[in-house]
Structure formats: structure tokens, C-alpha cells
Symmetry: C2
Subunit: 122 residues, 2 copies
């Protein structure tokens, strides 16, 4: 024959051919789920911009500032702020009529560390 018979090189199974999970899996079910959840929180342009604004002006930005800076209406801003707050990434402090938000650096650093670990394992 002209074409060489392909043989799957994957080891340690009795069945020749395919589908022997003898390889390195790398990420636990739980690890993947947790990291995916953190990434999902970041994976939205409005939330990224919210974080960026707050990180650089922390403690001095109220919701109306954010609404003015972003192309969405006030309920949408509040919605994303809530997601970020529930995810532990930001916190809000009421000062008078306004609520000032700021990034929680520790949590942000935790995500950064989780990502670094993920990439390190690649």
C-alpha cells in the first residue's frame, strides 16, 4: 500500500486505536468551573470599562459619572455594578446623596493570580 497505516500512539490501553485517556488533563472540573466564573465576570466590555474607570479613580466615582462615561442607561450601569459587587470585585460606599464605588484590589489580584497559574500550566 502507498499510504502508511496510521496508528494512534497514545499509550497504556488494551484497545488499540483510539481514545485512551493516558494524557495529562491539567485542570480539575472544579478549577475550570471557578476560573470560568471569574472570567465570565470580566468578559463584558461594560464591566471591563467600569473596572478600569474605578481602578484609576477609586473612591471618587459615583454611578452618574459612570453612566455619563458609558454608552448604556442607568439601570444597565447599576446592573453591571451589582454583578461586580456580588462577585466581590468592587465595593460601594454611600456618601450623602451619592454612592462611590471602588475596586477591591485583593480580589482583582486573586483573579490575576488564578490567571497566571492557568497560563503557567500551559
Amino acid at each position: 500500500m502507498t499510504i502508511q497505516s496510521e496508528q494512534r500512539p497514545t499509550g497504556s490501553t488494551t484497545i488499540p486505536g483510539c481514545c485512551a485517556p493516558a494524557f495529562d488533563v491539567g485542570l480539575t472540573d472544579d478549577e475550570a468551573a471557578q476560573l470560568a466564573e471569574k472570567l465570565s465576570l470580566l468578559a463584558h466590555p461594560i464591566r471591563l470599562r467600569l473596572l478600569a474607570i474605578l481602578a484609576r479613580n477609586g473612591g471618587h466615582v459615583c454611578v452618574c459619572d459612570l453612566e455619563a462615561a458609558l454608552p448604556v442607561k442607568q439601570p444597565t450601569v447599576s446592573h453591571h455594578l451589582r454583578l461586580l459587587r456580588d462577585g466581590g470585585l468592587i465595593e460601594g460606599e454611600r456618601r450623602g446623596q451619592w454612592i462611590y464605588y471602588a475596586v477591591r484590589r485583593e480580589e482583582l489580584a486573586a483573579i490575576q493570580a488564578a490567571l497566571a497559574q492557568f497560563f503557567a500550566r500551559m
Copy 2:
């Protein structure tokens, strides 16, 4: 009065009170959209595990291996592989009956760099 009148310190507007976008915005509309797109691609447990497996066993893993290692059916594996391939993160090479996937390190590094830049700006 006992309570001090709150005054928004945000500068450079003629309107006293609120909503003067004099602060640092930090992320362009486009930058945020692009980064969010990359993050969305990563933000799924199955895709994270696919990447981890492929990164550590690159070029030696066929779809049936992946299906065996993950808690989803074959069409779902193919679906996520397609998303990753369309996103430039992996590539597949047909060898005989099987198609072997591998991570594209450059693209993965690009995402890592984009993330690093994002966190650096925080």
C-alpha cells in the same frame, strides 16, 4: 446644620454637583470590546479544559480523546473546538482517520499579554 453638606469634588465642570466626566477613563470602547471577546472565549469550563489538555499534550490528542476526558457529548466537543479554532487559539491537523488538535502558543501569549496590559493599567 449638623451634617456637612456633601460636595462632589470632581473638577472642571460648570455644573456644581454631579456627573463631570473629568476622570481617567482608562479603556477605549474598542479595547474593551476586543478584550471582552478574548475573555469570552476563555470563559467556559469546557474550553478551559480543552486548552489545558491540548497545551500539555499538543499534537497527540484527537477529538475522541477529548470526548472521553470531558463530561459532554461529541457534538459539544466539536462545537467548542470550533469556537477555539475560529478564535485562533487552536489548530487541527488531520492524520489519517483522526484530527489532532494543538494550542497555538502565539495566540495564547497574545491573550496573556492583553490581560497583563489590562491589569497593569489598574
